[in-house]
């Protein structure tokens, strides 16, 4: 745990992928978990929306003494209220998920906040290694399980990837007992989004394999040919040192050996 830093985790209402019921959002839960390891009990967890939403108790049940709700009605833009909330305080780190599980889920919120506040944004964080002397060293989650170390000056905004530490279990009783601070701000309706037509997602058509052969012989070849790479290099009579060197050169050229 790092002393004396102010960490804010932003949480939203998730959606269960099978049942579609409201739940603790996967990545937001991880953002709270990361916030708890960074700041412990002094973590501030903020939600913009309906304070009566029962799912918020699931976040509170992770061991939070209190939770801040910026009250606004549905269809409102969360950006202005969060902006005014963050500007007032001296915050060092803001943690969010990469994408919300409801609404547009464009993942733009952390970017817009970072742009407005003029802070750097660190995308897809897996772990915060350490924070000292006003600088943080974080690990980014890359595809294929790779990690990249990046240093960034405080204050910054980070979106938390699915590779981060899984959110702890929530406890029902402490969740109910947690104290909710409800703040009323001026909420702005998202005009552009109200123009959209929203429907249940249609299954996307599968791409059909089209054989664009001009002649019957070509079609026959396309239907019967074995998918072979062709033109591969074969080493037979070289010494085993040369063979190994050829393989090693290919591995280095493809940058899989570091």
């Amino acid at each position: 745990m790092q002393p004396n830093i102010n960490v804010v985790s932003l949480v939203s209402i998730g959606r269960h992928p099978q049942s579609g019921r409201a739940r603790r959002a996967e990545q937001d839960g991880r953002a709270v978990e990361l916030g708890l390891t960074l700041a412990g009990q002094s973590l501030t967890v903020v939600h913009a929306g309906n304070a009566k939403e029962p799912v918020l108790r699931q976040y509170a049940g992770m061991g939070l003494p209190s939770l801040t709700v910026l009250e606004q009605s549905e269809g409102c833009d969360a950006l202005p209220v969060l902006m005014s909330f963050l500007q007032d305080k001296s915050v060092d780190v803001v943690l969010t998920g990469v994408r919300a599980e409801g609404g547009e889920s464009s993942g733009m919120l952390p970017y817009l906040l970072a742009e407005k506040l003029g802070w750097p944004l660190v995308p897809r964080v897996a772990e915060v290694l350490e924070i000292k002397n006003g600088e943080a060293e974080v690990l980014l989650a890359l595809p294929r399980g790779q990690r990249r170390a990046v240093t960034v000056k405080l204050p910054f905004i980070a979106s938390v990837d699915n590779a981060a530490q899984e959110a702890r279990q929530t406890a029902f009783g402490p969740g109910l007992r947690a104290d909710f601070k409800v703040l009323n701000g001026d909420s702005v309706v998202d005009e552009a989004a109200s123009q959209w037509q929203i429907s249940v997602a249609k299954p996307r058509p599968k791409r059909i394999k089209v054989v664009k052969a001009k002649t019957a012989a070509d079609r026959m070849k396309a239907a019967t040919a074995k998918p072979v790479g062709g033109g591969g290099k074969v080493l037979r009579n070289e010494s085993s040192t040369e063979k190994a060197q050829a393989i090693f050169d290919l591995l280095i050229e493809e940058k899989v050996i570091r």
């Binding site: 995308p123 897809r124 910054f156 929203i198 037979r236 085993s240 050829a246 899989v256």
Partner: protein, 424 residues
């Protein structure tokens, strides 16, 4: 003004007929009849175009006065000069030319490993749908290494290739500055990004936030007026007006496959770079066996040809490869079931797949269908894995693995020393 200009190669394949020669060949009373048949070059075709053969003129009279017929066709080379050229000739696709384009569509590609991904190619295809016969240029913006040799076939009219140390590795701020300069200079009609974890989505969000324009995320049906996006963790479709910045899902369009494009480089004037707030400290070594097999980048896979299993594990550790196995190795109990590659195991997507002692059953080949580069070490030169491999080594696995371990150790030692001398 898209102009399809190319030489029609089908003209070369046309059969040229000489009506006069055919007429002489038909007319036995013609004074030139015998000479014309002696030349033999005349193919006589009936009215329906059917090839007619005169059995009386087949062959020649040998030195002893006996008619000889050469059925091996060795001396008939002179007869074949009018035959159709064989189909092996490479067909040249028509070239799509864009001169002085009225507008640009920028496609910022991921270029994983320096090559266009299937996702990138789909987006280039979609960009051409958005051009829709107008005089616009589809421009590929790529950063860092460009190993792609087939940009012209993927539909790239113009290319902005930004190279240099500042764009290497994790450099979203430097890349964003470059995109802003492109925006100022060319004012593109659309900015298209892949909605991917390789940095496409990140860059799109940064550009959108900086320009203050709302983007459409996870779009999958796009035309000039409307866009359909996935929302709410892919449970909803959102129909909206098409914005200028889009991040696109996979298979959003069809890749270009019937034309060549110019790939003309475009110049970008002085890009203003600022000191980045985030400093890249490089990739971190991860435990390669903790990476799920399905998404591992580099797999060392073992089959029936491995006898020294300790050496195999040592090789995987030295090379930093994720371990895989064929079904035989798993059934014999040398590797856990979770490591099996193939139809009843895991379908892998590795960039480099190093198969040691695996002959390549069809179920195994299905499992490695998506791998880019396959390297085989095998004693049997005729096996399927060697045929599929980009590099095949015909040798006993034990010797080659021993050499590979040594090479890897030397490499890491020399690299460690370099870093030490850099630090000093």
């Amino acid at each position: 003004m898209s102009d399809l200009s190319s030489k029609d190669s089908s003209l070369d394949n046309l059969l040229r007929r000489d009506p006069r020669a055919e007429w002489i060949a038909r007319n036995r009373l013609h004074p030139l009849h015998n000479e014309m048949l002696q030349i033999g070059g005349v193919e006589v075709r009936g009215p329906s175009g059917l090839l007619r053969k005169n059995p009386h003129v087949i062959g020649f009279i040998g030195p002893n006065g006996i008619k000889r017929i050469d059925r091996t066709n060795t001396s008939s080379a002179s007869l074949g000069d009018k035959k159709r050229s064989s189909a092996t000739k490479e067909t040249q696709l028509p070239l799509h030319i864009v001169e002085n384009p009225d507008f640009y569509i920028m496609v910022v590609a991921d270029m994983v490993g320096g090559r266009l991904t299937g996702h990138d190619k789909d987006i280039l295809g979609l960009a051409h749908q958005l051009v829709a016969k107008r005089n616009g240029a589809v421009t590929l913006v790529c950063f860092g290494d460009n190993k792609e040799t087939q940009c012209d076939l993927a539909g790239v009219d113009r290319l902005v290739h930004l190279q240099g140390e500042i764009y290497e590795g994790f450099a979203p701020e430097a890349r964003l500055n470059a995109l802003l300069q492109i925006e100022a200079q060319y004012k593109p009609d659309y900015w298209l990004f892949p909605d991917s974890v390789h940095g496409g989505m990140d860059l799109a969000c940064r550009l959108s936030a900086r320009l203050g324009e709302r983007l459409a995320a996870q779009a999958w049906q796009v035309n000039a007026e409307h866009t359909v996006c996935r929302g709410a963790s892919a449970s909803q479709d959102i129909l909206r007006d098409t914005p200028r910045i889009l991040t696109l899902l996979e298979e959003c369009g069809d890749a270009i496959d019937e034309s060549r494009h110019q790939v003309l480089p475009m110049a970008i004037d002085g890009i203003e770079q600022t000191t980045p707030a985030m400093v890249d400290k490089g990739l971190i070594a991860v435990d390669s066996n903790a990476v799920p097999l399905a998404e591992a980048e580099f797999i060392l896979s073992a089959g029936n040809g491995i006898h020294n299993w300790d050496q195999f594990h040592a090789a995987a550790a030295a090379l930093g490869a994720t371990e895989g196995a064929s079904r035989v190795a798993v059934d014999d109990g040398f590797m856990p079931r979770a490591r099996q590659v193939g139809a009843s195991g895991t379908w892998v997507t590795a960039r480099v797949y190093l198969a040691v002692g695996i002959s390549g059953a069809i179920q195994h080949m299905q499992g490695i269908g998506q791998c880019d580069k396959v390297v085989a070490i095998n004693t049997d030169a005729g096996c399927d894995m060697v045929k599929r491999a980009d590099l095949a080594v015909i040798a006993d696995s034990e010797d080659v693995l021993a050499e590979l371990i040594q090479l890897a150790q030397h490499y890491s030692l020399s690299k460690g020393q370099e870093e030490k001398s850099d630090a000093a």
